[in-house]
């Protein structure tokens, strides 16, 4: 099944989000703070990779899209490409993104658009991802002095990337509609975690809206260089 041209733009945006975040979470393998988190982070990464493969296949060949596009052709949010940082940064990124994804897929699942069947499955996965991020945000925010400081720093650092998900995307009219709910949900979690909701802007001159146009942050180039190297070294090979 291939999507209509309007849906292709949306599938690429959502597919790239899932692909890139899955890759970042995959970098945790063997480095997680506790064995249970090795399992949980890999689980989330696998869900996202599954979503990415379905979405990219709507657009074309999944491997050609993942491995042979240049940096400027990727349509993912800048939020998901941000480096893992410490566990607090990874959790803040998870909270922000999974809340967005959960709300968006909830809307898409309820509609009758091309993504409804995919969204129906993804909404269950993202509910777990969101819950995982919420549980850790509470523990880190309301844990020790150190964990509180680290979690606050992570929230503050990533805050400026949280306006981008709600920019209009062709074929994805639902994205801007979930912003209010997103802000309410994230605010509730942060407050319960005794954290301060940042006052800074959620969009910057460059930051927000740029990823969907193919403008990324510096760490992203290195990430895809690593991801694509082997595939590109053997043109035409099958694996």
């Amino acid at each position: 099944m291939t999507a209509t041209s309007v849906a292709r733009t949306a599938a690429l945006a959502l597919g790239d989000d899932a692909l890139v975040l899955s890759h970042r979470l995959g970098e945790w393998a063997g480095h997680a703070p506790v064995l249970e988190e090795e399992v949980a982070l890999a689980n989330i990464a696998l869900d996202l990779l599954g979503q990415a493969r379905i979405l990219l296949s709507l657009v074309g060949d999944e491997d050609e899209l993942a491995y042979l596009r240049e940096e400027r052709a990727f349509r993912n949010l800048q939020l998901v490409e941000q480096p893992n940082g410490d566990f607090a940064h990874t959790i803040a990124r998870q909270l922000f993104f999974s809340t967005y994804q959960h709300l968006l897929y909830g809307r898409l699942a309820a509609g009758d658009g091309e993504f409804a069947p995919l969204a129906a499955k993804a909404v269950k996965e993202t509910e777990y991802h969101r819950d995982h991020a919420e549980q850790w945000t509470l523990r880190l925010g309301d844990g020790t002095e150190e964990s509180h400081a680290r979690m606050q720093r992570a929230v503050d650092t990533l805050w400026r990337f949280t306006g981008e998900p709600f920019q209009p995307v062709e074929g994805l009219a639902e994205a801007p509609l979930v912003e209010e709910e997103w802000l309410a949900s994230v605010t509730t979690v942060l407050e319960r975690a005794t954290l301060t909701v940042p006052e800074g802007p959620r969009t910057g001159a460059w930051a927000a809206g740029a990823g969907r146009q193919g403008l990324h942050t510096e760490p992203f180039g290195r990430m895809i260089a690593e991801m694509q190297h082997l595939h590109r070294s053997h043109p035409g090979a099958t694996w």
Binding site: A29, H31, V34, L35, G143, S147, H234, A237, T238, W239
Partner: protein, 328 residues
Amino acid sequence: MTAVTEGQTHPAKEGSAPDQQTVFDAAVAADERIEPRDWMPDAYRASLVRQIAQHAHSEIIGMQPEANWITRAPSLRRKAILMAKVQDEAGHGLYLYSAAETLGTSREELLDKLHAGRQKYSSIFNYPTLTWADVGAIGWLVDGAAITNQVPICRCSYGPYARAMVRICKEESFHQRQGFESLLALSQGTPEQHAMAQDAVNRWWWPSLMMFGPPDDESSHSAQSMQWKIKRHSNDELRQRFVDIAVPQAKALGLTLPDPDLRWNEERGHHDFGAIDWAEFWDVLKGNGPCNDQRITQRRRAHEEGAWVRDAAAAYASKHRKTKGEAA
């Protein structure tokens, strides 16, 4: 095998020590399962903790050489398979640390011993994964050897260990098949891919044979473990079984095994194979392998860097336990 249900204790639990020993010996002899609350000799307990801990440590250290390729996996399908495999290994670590906990030893305690170098993990993981084909070779050979070692442990006399192994072996067999399939794709691929596969098999073959441990006459724990039915076959028996299985598989893969002395012996009904370099085995075991430092350093670092996260979870739990208590 007589089934003993979980939690059931053998009748002479209250009796004097010699009685308990007799009951234990009879249970082992009758192929019954020893359960956590049953009386067991201290040496049996210690031997199990040593073996289960080493096995658990091998699972979590074993994540490293394969995780090394997650971010470079050459197709999304292979990436998904590899991530799932590394995740399974973390899961195996969890079951095994839990099995050790039933013997009264905490995960924390065992991890401390691993980090301090006082407990071992399988030496195979002290070899590096240099190319993508190493992921396939580990699946085919290392997981293949692990299965050969572990299937008999599903019948081990200690219940929780045996039950953990049943589940682990099912997953390991998937790992072994994906490794074989991945190597087959390489072997039948471009000349460069074929060469990559052959190079990986050349490097992993001998270390895989060493995974069965030293020859029977030099194996320090074997005899007692066999008597207790923790172990069911000798190192050399299992090694032979593995070689006999691997030879036709290598042929099917279109790859050769790096041993000029490898040939079928009609008389024995087994393959003869060349001498293993035991000096290398002991050297790697002592810490001089290519990656011993790297593996343990990464493990320690992950643990140390994660300390504040574990502390936060503990602090949160204790705060909220208190709040709950005050509310009541």
